[in-house]
């Protein structure tokens, strides 16, 4: 599972973000992008030494400054279920269509692999 897809699925969930400078931000994820820039709401910011605290209504964090994010454990199962459900929905939709596979000329899995960026494509190319 891609890290960015896990993050996108974590919208509205609480999380802890630690920056490279050691500051921590506890809040709910509003949005994120491909650079992992994120916006959080209802944020509790803690200084690196743990001495000072701030409460922020909203904040924007540049992805390049992030060290790591800690997310609720339940999120993993939720995302896996969602991905499985989306796959099932995609398969049944394609099956019901007018021979869509023949029209497009390539198997759905192959297309999915190419779109899914690095990891899956790597496995397909067989060089691991």
């Amino acid at each position: 599972m891609l890290p960015l897809s896990l993050l996108t699925a974590a919208q509205n969930k609480p999380m802890l973000v630690e920056l490279k400078n050691g500051e921590t931000f506890n809040g709910h994820l509003v949005n994120c992008d491909n650079f992992m820039n994120i916006t959080l709401r209802e944020v509790y910011q803690t200084s690196a030494d743990g001495d000072r605290f701030w409460k922020l209504k909203e904040c924007y964090i540049r992805g390049s400054t992030i060290k790591y994010l800690r997310v609720p454990d339940t999120l993993l199962d939720a995302v896996k279920d969602e991905q499985a459900r989306a796959r099932e929905a995609g398969r049944s939709a394609r099956g019901a269509g007018p021979g869509g596979r023949g029209g497009r000329g390539a198997p759905p899995r192959g297309r999915g692999g190419a779109r899914g960026a690095g990891p899956r494509g790597g496995r397909g190319r067989g060089r691991g």
Binding site: M1, L2, P3, L4, S5, L6, L7, K20, M36, G63, S64, I66, K67, Y68, L69, R70, V71, P72, D73, L75, L76, A117, G118, P119, G122, R123, R127, G128
Partner: protein, 95 residues
């Protein structure tokens, strides 16, 4: 080209630039080496006491923070008694 695909769903040990060692199951990764670890624990080494394991849960680590990812041999890892280990903690990277 080497890829982390071979490590997916295995237990791995991550060494970060600040000297932390995090063990967990590799759930996913991407081209920038951002990594998702589940059931992760931080292993804090010390010369005075044994290894302290801090449970962390689901972690998303930025690729630019990662120094090393090593596959943990579960058999060897289970056999080790962490309370007997004495080791200097790794210092952070200094550029």
């Amino acid at each position: 080209m080497s890829s982390l695909q071979g490590y997916v769903d295995r237990r791995v040990l991550l060494i970060l630039q600040d000297g932390r060692a995090i063990a967990g199951v590799l759930v996913g990764f991407d081209q920038k080496s951002n990594v998702v670890l589940s059931d992760s624990t931080e292993r804090v080494y010390s010369m005075e006491e044994g290894v302290e394991e801090i449970p962390l849960g689901l972690y998303l680590v930025k690729g630019d923070m990662i120094v090393l990812i090593g596959e943990i041999d579960d058999a060897v890892d289970q056999a080790v008694d962490l309370s007997t280990i004495r080791a200097e903690p790794l210092p952070a990277i200094r550029y």
